[in-house]
């Protein structure tokens, strides 16, 4: 299998429009359409969070799918595991809603479904070719690349910058 992909955030592109949150909620609804999802009970929940440091600095934050996930080890019900594709998932039927995972997640990206008393987090949209948030981002601030490719892009941008600076 080729390199697994992660969801990276290019902060300089984020407009704070929250379209990713909307698309994420819709992708995790029963009806899978905005129009149907709006009417659903319990309300569909987004797993990506657009926080703001200042009003002008929006920061999208989502589960990093940690290789050594604190949540997975902390779960007292064995409900969190890592799939073959490397996605850390919470199995709803096993979750007992004790929120220990919430307590240990250093990113604060595990949510609490109040009606169903279950923890939830980003599952990398296993049914879609690319995660819904990535597709929804109108400025392509969210990108779905392998670590290798993303890092290479960052290096290339940095090198272009350094080169430009050196040549004056």
């Amino acid at each position: 299998m080729s390199e697994p992909k992660e969801i990276f955030v290019r902060l300089d592109r984020c407009m704070g429009c929250h379209s990713c949150e909307l698309a994420c909620a819709v992708a995790h609804s029963e009806s899978r359409s905005l129009y149907g999802a709006i009417a659903e009970q319990p309300r569909p929940k987004a797993r990506v969070y657009v926080e703001s440091v200042t009003p002008r600095t929006p920061v999208p934050i989502l589960c990093r799918q940690c290789e050594d996930a604190p949540c997975m080890h902390a779960c007292i019900a064995g409900a969190i595991r890592r799939t073959e594709e490397g996605v850390v998932i919470t199995q709803s039927d096993k979750c007992i809603g004790c929120w220990t995972c919430v307590m240990v997640c250093p990113y604060g990206v595990i949510g609490r479904q109040t009606e169903e008393h279950k923890a939830y987090r980003c599952d990398r949209c296993p049914d879609l070719a690319a995660p819904a948030c990535v597709d929804a981002c109108p400025t392509r601030a969210l990108v779905y690349r392998s670590v290798k490719d993303f890092s290479r892009d960052t290096r290339q941008a940095a090198s272009a910058g350094m080169l430009g600076a050196q040549r004056g």
């Binding site: 902060l11 969070y49 926080e51 703001s52 440091v53 600095t57 920061v59 934050i61 604190p70 997975m72 080890h73 902390a74 779960c75 007292i76 019900a77 064995g78 409900a79 969190i80 595991r81 890592r82 096993k94 007992i96 809603g97 004790c98 929120w99 220990t100 995972c101 919430v102 307590m103 240990v104 997640c105 250093p106 990113y107 604060g108 990206v109 595990i110 949510g111 609490r112 008393h117």
Partner: protein, 417 residues
């Protein structure tokens, strides 16, 4: 014996022991790993025991291997094997049936046992339980059938969860708590108001400031509890949740240091060579105070076990310690998270309390106000893990202080300082 094939032996097949086994296997593909358990049941998630009583989960739902991060590959678990003697010079241990097992690396992960206060009379009566093992849970579930009223002695997390399990089975339940309020180990009395209200609304009867003197019985076992103020509460079942004590009584191993639990360094090694300890059986340290603590938490046991496993397999892994308090749960629709130092009365901490109808929040800073040392969240527990991170890393929090107090802290604050 091939020099690269180490023999790893682990005493205790619960959180610490199995986490260590998985960690070892992740690094060392070839060594043999044997885990000894004194229980008849294959390893299971101990915190799920109340669910067996309520019927929400079956024993099969609770098995460890095959769930979460546990795949159990190449790990030999031996049940019904209570380790009798350990010889740390010869690096062997004895198990029932006369077998002597040799080890290269030994982990003591024997966990803890329920503390039964000796001053309470009649704790050996039929119908009295300290819910620790699956066997205890099965027995308790059976006793439920002939019980109308259960009395829970002790107001900690275990008894609270067990109370709800019993309420779900249709029993009347009374919680008898010595302290002025429930969950006194995890928070102060005024912090627990919201939770107390939720418990009352859920139908749980609570007697605070009361202790049990004697458990009464008739031909069918428990018939009531005599309190120290002279009142008698009629009941058919008693659950004792008065804390745990580390299991460290071994024959042999006199040379390891014990101070409540087995004393270990930051690499999980104890004072005998090639012997490690982790989990409830071990004494670790609190990064906030730097002092030694024992912990009775599954999450901590797993972390310590993993650390021990890595070190046993030759990879240096330093344990960051654990808070004295690190608990998350939900009782009667009210979730809460308590971590670090939350008992602040009469002590010199900078404390901020925010209280509303549906949520309660207590944020505790060091006396100089430059570090976060404790957080209690009731009702709104979102992003609790961020606070654990801040406390554990002893982060300078000057810029983030108002966000921490307002509970508006999020990861973006760390990414964009």
């Amino acid at each position: 014996m091939a020099s690269c094939e180490k023999r790893y032996v682990i005493v205790g097949a619960s959180a610490a022991g199995m986490a260590a086994a998985e960690a070892i296997r992740a690094i060392d593909k070839r060594g043999s790993i044997t885990v000894f358990s004194d229980e008849p049941d294959p390893p299971y998630f101990r915190p799920l025991i109340p669910f067996l009583i309520s019927g929400k989960k079956s024993a099969a739902d609770m098995t460890l291997v095959g769930q979460g991060p546990y795949c159990g590959a190449g790990i030999d678990v031996r049940l019904n094997s209570r380790v009798e003697k350990i010889d740390s010079w010869a690096q062997t241990l004895d198990i029932p049936g006369g077998e002597r097992v040799a080890y290269d690396k030994l982990l003591i992960a024997t966990g803890s046992r329920s503390y039964i206060p000796p001053e309470i009379e009649g704790t050996d009566t039929e119908g009295v339980f300290a819910l620790r093992t699956l066997a205890d849970a099965r027995a308790a579930a059976r006793r439920v059938e002939s019980t109308q009223h259960a009395v829970m002695l002790g107001g900690g997390m275990l008894n609270l969860k067990a109370s709800f399990a019993l309420l779900e089975r249709g029993l009347q339940v009374t919680l008898v708590v010595q302290s002025p309020q429930v969950l006194s180990q995890l928070m102060e009395p005024e912090d627990a108001t919201l939770i107390r209200n939720a418990l009352n609304n859920a139908g749980l009867k609570i007697e605070t400031g009361a202790g049990a003197r004697r458990i009464l019985s008739n031909g069918n076992g428990v018939s009531g509890v005599l309190l120290d103020d002279g009142r008698i509460i009629g009941c058919e079942m008693v659950c004792i949740g008065k804390g745990v004590r580390p299991n460290v009584a071994f024959a042999g191993l006199e040379e390891i240091r014990i101070d409540g639990g087995v004393v270990v360094d930051r690499f999980a090694a104890c004072s005998a060579g090639n012997v490690y300890a982790a989990g409830d059986a071990a004494v670790t340290f609190d990064p906030i105070t730097g002092g030694r603590i024992v912990t009775g938490l599954w999450t901590n046991a797993v972390e310590m076990g993993k650390c021990a496993g890595y070190n046993m397999a030759g990879r240096h892994a330093e344990y960051g310690g654990t808070f004295g308090i690190l608990n998350a749960t939900q009782v009667a629709d009210v979730p809460f998270v308590s971590m670090g130092i939350v008992h602040t009365t009469g002590r010199n901490y900078e404390t901020h309390v925010s209280s509303s109808r549906n949520a309660y929040r207590k944020v505790v800073f060091s006396p100089e106000g430059t570090r976060l040392v404790g957080v209690l969240l009731v009702g709104d527990i979102s992003r609790a893990g961020l606070y654990r991170f801040v406390i554990k890393e002893r982060m300078p929090i000057a810029k983030l202080k108002s966000n921490i107090i307002d509970h508006t802290l999020h990861y973006g604050h760390f990414m964009c300082p």
